[in-house]
Symmetry: C2
Subunit: 335 residues, 2 copies
């Protein structure tokens, strides 16, 4: 049995192992600061497809294929693929994985999906339901702009607080045993609504949810900020990151040294026109499955707390004047 | 530890208990065959709201509130709400549950969501991660027509194979112990693609996925069709139900006696203009959480295999000519 710790956290009795992972990206990602940590960079974001949507599926499908090749498992060993994305009805996931002929658990956590899929996969492995799982997610700048904002052809101006959706996918192969970093704890996310309605300032909408999950994680586990080499949010970007540091300080937690955000890490702000940084499910997905996993495997990072955030909204709810709701799941990993 | 059985099934070591459940519905449901099994019927589908979307959230929110009142639990005991719906980015769920201030696992399984949410909640309870969970889902005829087909005002003609999306919600409170029917087994769903592209014939698109899950459930568990008092699909409707019976027969399984479909049960086809029957996440959700749970608790039903199906598609994928993908999760319940 896994051990319930506090209000929202579990300590896994059989810590699932992240056997391998892979990150795919496109042109913008190839020009960013973490380009060398991607497994595959395809310059053309359309990748020989007819639509942005099918291209996004292709980035996801190939991240899974590469992660599986690295793990050296047989497909029949995969008990379940846990995945979700930003497209309406999570279709990037459905069409990416259909030809693998493995069970699917579709999840929706917006840009927190990489952690939600890892959390669900870990629980299913630790419970004994399955032996191996794939946790994955994707996003695509062009499909996201088309669906959530305006078609690219419209050439709309972006506000300074707007972020750039990462094109690509992160996929991780998790197992009950084997070599690799272990997932020791997971903290569930709770919706936090602070009344933010600006769809061009997701960092501000999501930062309070990140803070809520952090406070609960430390309270539940009795751990301190300094127990981690790195605490990592998903795509708060430069605006949300600053807010998070300030809110954590107000709660007596010093996030000034060992905390960073994938949205601030992935692109080169000085050279790239990405405004407040990276965003999208693939932001946390690719940075974790590429950059962070390499550092965990090399031993450069030993203890990481990975806590991407999601904004639970749709164009319909925004246009109807509803608030943007935030959520954040946290995963504690030991190298 | 839960016991992995065969390829896609688990036998829970600590069978989670369905403590209570509730079903909410609207006018069409109040005129159907199962009207007396609903906990709340609100004639106005807009329910004093300004939009169909916020009304759908209200049906979901109230199903959860009623189920919780019946279960007599304190909100602080709920470790997690597992829910999803058909709205883009699953916003019915997010806005329905935000004020409960409990953790959320957002899932997306289209109209199979009631079983996916119960399967995930059961695994989290059985693993020890949480003690109590709410599994829920919703749909709304008007929000679904608006989003997936045409606005109601357009007055589009419906084809004979089209189904009527159920307005309402089903919610169940699951616990590690207590009085109520137990979830003994769960079989994961796998995407089945048979090349169906007609968005007005979901039954045909989903029936093969139901058959695939049934075959695997019986193979994995060694059980027979006759081991269940009732085998229940979610919203195949009259077209899909007939297909399912035929496909099962081709696989040597006799589904002619103890099998039914929620989409064929909920409305009164002779009096109501519902074409091929009911559909939507709330079809399986309300029929299970209302009608079936009452029979399980009274002892009229002892062993039920609940296996709703989902069609993984969006208007975008349909308009781009992609196939409609089917998936089905199965839950074995003992009264």
């Amino acid at each position: 049995m896994d051990q319930k710790v506090g209000n929202r956290t579990v300590k896994f009795s059989n810590s699932p192992v992240i056997l391998e992972s892979a990150a795919t990206g496109s042109k913008k990602e190839s020009e960013g600061k973490l380009a060398t940590d991607f497994d595959l960079l395809v310059p053309d974001p359309l990748w020989d497809e007819k639509s942005w949507e099918t291209a996004e599926s292709k980035f996801l499908k190939n991240a899974i294929i590469i992660a599986m090749e690295k793990a050296g498992l047989d497909w029949s060993q995969i008990g379940c693929i846990v995945s979700g994305d930003l497209m309406n009805q999570c279709t990037s996931t459905a069409f990416a994985i259909k030809d693998f002929h493995r069970p699917l658990l579709g999840v929706y956590g917006a840009c927190s999906t990489m952690a939600e899929s890892m959390l669900v996969a870990s629980t299913f492995i630790s419970s004994g339901f399955i032996d191996y799982a794939i946790a994955a997610t994707s996003s695509h700048f062009c499909s996201a702009e088309k669906q959530f904002r305006t078609p690219l052809e419209y050439g709309g101006q972006r506000t300074p607080t707007a972020q750039w959706t990462v094109t690509g996918s992160g996929a991780a192969v998790l197992g009950k045993s084997g070599k690799g970093p272990k997932i020791t704890h997971a903290t569930l996310g709770k919706i936090v609504d602070r009344g933010v309605t600006d769809a061009n300032n997701m960092g501000a909408a999501m930062a309070p949810a990140f803070v809520d999950t952090m406070i609960n994680h430390f309270k539940d586990t009795g751990r301190n900020v300094s127990d981690y080499d790195l605490i990592l949010s998903g795509d708060l970007g430069f605006v949300g990151r600053e807010l998070a540091v300030r809110l954590m300080a107000e709660n007596g937690l010093d996030f000034s040294t060992n905390y960073d955000d994938c949205g601030c890490m992935i692109y080169d702000r000085k050279k790239q026109d990405v405004h407040a940084g990276g965003s999208g499910c693939a932001c946390a997905g690719t940075v974790f499955c590429g950059h962070i996993m390499r550092k965990l495997k090399s031993g450069e990072l030993k203890r990481v707390l990975f806590a991407p955030t999601g904004a639970l909204m749709s164009p319909t709810t925004c246009m109807q004047g509803e608030n943007i709701l935030g959520i954040s799941y946290a995963i504690a990993i030991e190298g």
